[in-house]
């Protein structure tokens, strides 16, 4: 799952991400501004074939790769349940 998230981040950033960096830096420190984070979330929705409104009433900006993985897991589970 981590690999999928990194691939999405790399696609949005347009550059490679060092695996050793992902738990050291926040998404902003990795160069992702809020619009880029939004693109990542939209791609997660697409990949999990689910939508964020099924889980969240409001979307706080995720700060770390761990946050994104957690969102991915929740959406993925939601899809399986459906």
């Amino acid at each position: 799952m981590e690999k999928v998230i990194i691939e999405i981040i790399e696609e949005v950033l347009g550059s490679k991400v060092e695996y050793s960096d992902i738990h050291k830096f926040s998404l902003m420190e990795m160069g992702l501004n809020s619009m880029m984070v939004l693109s990542v979330l939209m791609q997660i929705e697409e990949k999990t074939k689910s939508d964020l409104s099924e889980i969240f009433d409001e979307m706080e900006t995720p700060n770390t790769v761990t946050d994104l993985i957690s969102i991915y897991k929740k959406l993925d589970k939601q899809t399986l349940n459906n």
């Binding site: 939508d51 964020l52 409001e58």
Partner: protein, 547 residues
């Protein structure tokens, strides 16, 4: 509330109501809640999904806070900075500031932290509001109030301290900062009278009333937040304050669940909301009466989806520089519009097009710079007479604002936006100046010069900030990554370049100066072959992707 009951009360001039209702002339924003407070005290005024406030609570809490501000020594004309998170409580704060006759200055926290010395020396604020996290960003010993102060107010008895207006209607109500060409932000000063004029003029189009449900998504440091929050609540509308990321599926859910009637979203946000086509198709948005967009040219595909989805509703394109109080031209979009105009001037706004020689253009379909005058025009830029004089022009003894926007008038006498005259651009709803980006880039000690431009992404049609950075030192991957990391500490994220070229070569123009436009043009042409890369090395006319 039926119209019979409503007749017993006085109604502000901008609220649509029965003709027999008594009209009151509100002249100061300290009085902005009088109408809903008297008529609908227990109705929800603002709600963010977790916290909500009735009109009675808003009125009382803002009065209590105002009293507290006065006790702190805040007096007429003092600047109060609000490091503006999207909290419901900011509405209470802004009204309390006005009740104290001080000036509301919302500033984005990140911008503030990068320029705290400028804001504190230029504005000399008497007080700063922010969350606890922001406290450390303040340089001087100015008084800091946490947003938590509002929670503490709940412990007071519910006593309404009546607002007694003392200062002039010409006093400044708020200062909102825009990007400046020299890298120094310009503080646009809007007076109480001008904002009230705006309420009157724009609500003829928006048509907010006590039955409306608004949706506020604009950050409070954007003037659009006044349009989507303060204007509706002044009419008795309920406003849903959305503070999260603009995820299409979530927003569409809220629009449906909260039965929103009025959606105001700058084109970037509207595009995002529209991106989930399936969700948009499935959503029941029958309550939506009006969708207003603007700030940038909106993609006609996006507009067409809304026209198709909401055949009963009005879809409106709005235009307005901060300097002319939020919005001054609008156009109700028709499905037959092949090019979407910015439309015609609101009531009491006047527009002209000027050619390069300063002559007024009378002919249709002839391009010129758009000038706007009338009763929404700003007072000027804060402490910046030079910049104020540059943008004001007198025509027939009336003052006009030079927008820098190139427009033409079409066959229907609607104005159509074409582009910018100078180096200002709108990206993601923000007005940015290329000069400001250059200013930040040159703060880096190793960058000897920089060229800055904007290019359109051919796939997404989004605007990208493109820069060529010039160095005397040798460029390597490690070097470029280090520079980028250092620049992230200097440049606000919304000004950070999307595509960067590292160069040892300069291109000189005929005058001997570095020809920035030519450097950007050549760089833009070369990067087409590398659509996946964002960072490049440029040497001896060769280009090499670094990432």
């Amino acid at each position: 509330m039926n119209s019979e009951v409503l007749l017993k009360y006085e109604v502000p001039s901008w609220v649509s109501s029965d003709n027999n209702a008594t009209r009151i002339n509100i002249t100061h924003l300290g009085e902005v809640l009088e109408f809903p407070y008297k008529n609908f005290p227990n109705k929800i005024a603002i709600n963010d999904g977790k916290v909500s406030y009735t009109f009675k609570q808003l009125q009382e809490l803002s009065s209590l806070l105002s009293k507290k501000l006065t006790q702190q020594g805040i007096k007429a004309g003092d600047r109060v900075i609000v490091l503006s998170e999207k909290y419901c409580e900011v509405v209470i704060i802004m009204i309390a500031i006005w009740k104290s006759e001080a000036i509301y200055v919302p500033i984005e926290p990140e911008s503030y932290s990068k320029r705290a010395d400028f804001f504190e020396s230029s504005l000399e604020p008497k007080l700063i509001f922010g969350s606890e996290l922001h406290k450390q960003k303040i340089l001087s010993d100015v008084v800091f109030f946490s947003f938590k102060e509002i929670e503490d107010l709940h412990n007071f008895e519910n006593i309404s301290y009546p607002f007694v207006k003392k200062s002039s209607v010409n006093d400044i109500a708020y200062i909102i900062h825009t990007s400046g060409s020299t890298g120094i932000p310009k503080g646009v000063c809007i007076e109480h009278r001008k904002l009230i004029n705006y309420f009157h003029n724009h609500n003829e189009v928006l048509r907010f009333n006590e039955k409306s449900y608004g949706f506020s998504i604009s950050p409070f440091h954007f003037d659009v937040s006044i349009e989507d929050t303060l204007l509706p609540i002044s009419t008795g509308s309920t406003v849903y304050i959305y503070r999260g990321l603009p995820v299409a599926s979530i927003i569409l859910n809220i629009l449906e669940k909260e039965k929103i009637t009025h959606l105001i979203a700058v084109s970037t946000i509207l595009t995002l909301i529209t991106s989930n086509t399936k969700k948009l198709d499935d959503a029941n948005l029958n309550n939506l009466e009006m969708v207003m967009t603007g700030a940038e040219v909106c993609d006609s595909n996006v507009i067409n989806k809304w026209l198709k989805k909401l055949p009963h509703a009005r879809v409106i394109n709005a235009y307005g520089p901060t300097e002319v109080t939020i919005v001054c031209l609008t156009h109700t979009i028709k499905s037959s519009d092949t090019v979407i105009p910015i439309g015609k001037a609101l009531t009491n706004n006047y527009v002209h097009l000027l050619d390069d020689d300063g002559n007024i253009i009378k002919e249709i379909n002839t391009k010129g710079e758009l000038l706007i005058g009338g009763d929404q025009l700003m007072h000027g830029y804060w402490n910046n007479e030079e910049e104020t004089n540059k943008v004001f022009k007198i025509i027939d003894e009336k003052i006009y604002y030079r927008s820098g926007d190139i427009c033409y008038k079409n066959d229907d006498n609607d104005y159509v936006f074409v582009g910018r005259k100078d180096s200002e651009h709108k990206i993601n709803g923000r007005r940015i100046n290329l000069g400001e980006i250059k200013h930040f880039l040159l703060l880096h000690p190793k960058i000897t010069n920089a060229a800055v431009g904007i290019i359109n992404d051919s796939k997404t049609n989004e605007k990208n900030i493109i820069v060529v950075l010039c160095f005397h030192t040798e460029i390597s991957k490690v070097f470029s990554e280090a520079i980028i990391n250092e620049l992230r500490q200097i440049i606000p994220f919304y000004l950070f370049p999307n595509i960067i070229g590292f160069s040892n070569d300069f291109i000189f123009g005929k005058t001997g100066k570095i020809d920035e436009k030519e450097m950007i043009r050549q760089f833009s042409e070369k990067i087409i072959s590398y659509p996946e890369s964002k960072i490049f090395s440029l040497n001896n006319n060769n280009i090499l992707p670094i990432n």
